[in-house]
Symmetry: C2
Subunit: 188 residues, 2 copies
DNA sequence: ACACCTGATGTCAGTTACTGTCATCGCGTA
DNA sequence: TACGCGATGACAGTAACTGACATCAGGTGT
């Protein structure tokens, strides 16, 4: 366990998820995470800005994927359909990762600080999507509202997918959730 | 400024908003807030769970009002219309408070930790609204999606209202934002 | 008038997240 | 083989937050 074992960052993320799951987020100290990863507390903070961030390593890549899919949707697609294309793209990333997602989500819902961090990541995604829509020529407040609606579908759809049986595909759940949103907003 | 001046809690909230505005959230210590309120750091933490919570004193009451209005909407009202009734009720609370809201929002958007706290308060509202809708007989995931849609309207509408001129009423902004959401989700 | 009770506050010590600074290590390169 | 450089360790310090206990002001009962 020398100073130069490879992938220090990944070892820290793995150790953190394990410990948060075993004894809870609050009952875990950063020093313990670092020790399990064969590193020191100071090095933890060189890789992650704080004790929460270690659980959200992939969020930037996920947002970029989402935004990219919206940006590259056909010009003719309506804003909500561009968002739908983004949801399709994002869903592919989660194929085969349901169990890992469940474990991670269980840790997050057990602690308010982690929920806060999750929410600001989702808000960042919403802002990125609104940007992408604006670049497609969508005006405000339509762009922000469409982005928020898309995130609502993602949030609700994600929870449904986690709770669902193994055969149920995320992309399908997302499509159905979006249809449901369209239904409930289609009054008056 | 003796030990028993009245309204210690209110004095702390006022001092905190002032200091966060003057020198920023991170550059303000809890000891400084307490000192300006004529109290000690320890007493601050008896009134507020942490350094962020002091800015969110009214959030529980606001949520209760929102939920109450949704609950008491006519039985015949569609879910989205019950939410609309809630938005109307909430809007009344903000009459005459635009300047205060601007000041507070400026402090919040300037700091990520405060944004996180704001987001979890809004998420709590969404959960409360979904509950209320379920009690009205709305099934899942329609209840959660309608609640999330309502919160999206509130978020976007609130920012529009803050940026708008003095004559523009929040209730009107909320109505227009909801109509816009209905428009963007009314495709295919 | 007096002792007593109670809730709010003060005091103090302790833990832990997080930061700044400098020393040290292992590896590649000239 | 000497040197440079990025990653890590070591250490001290700040501030958010907590627990335990003392103290104070005001009300209550006698």
């Amino acid at each position: 366990m020398g100073r130069w074992e490879p992938n220090a960052r990944g070892r820290l993320a793995e150790a953190a998820l394990e410990l948060y799951g075993e004894r809870g987020y609050e009952q875990t100290t950063v020093a313990e995470i670092a020790k399990r990863a064969g590193l020191t507390e100071r090095t933890f903070f060189r890789h992650y800005a704080d004790k929460r961030e270690v659980l959200f390593d992939g969020s930037v890549a996920l947002q970029e994927l989402f935004v990219k899919a919206v940006t590259e949707a056909p010009e003719s697609a309506a804003p909500i359909d561009a968002i739908a294309a983004g949801l399709e793209a994002v869903s592919k990333v989660f194929v085969g990762r349901r169990e890992h997602s469940r474990q991670r989500q269980a840790v997050i819902v057990a602690n308010a600080e982690l929920q806060e961090r999750e929410l600001i990541k989702l808000a960042s995604m919403s802002a990125g999507l609104a940007d992408a829509l604006r670049r497609r020529g969508v005006a405000e407040p339509a762009a922000s509202l469409t982005a928020e609606a898309g995130l609502a579908v993602f949030k609700v759809g994600f929870e449904l997918w986690i709770a669902a049986s193994e055969e149920r595909e995320m992309a399908q759940v997302m499509r159905e959730s979006l249809d449901e949103l369209k239904a409930v907003t289609a009054s008056g």
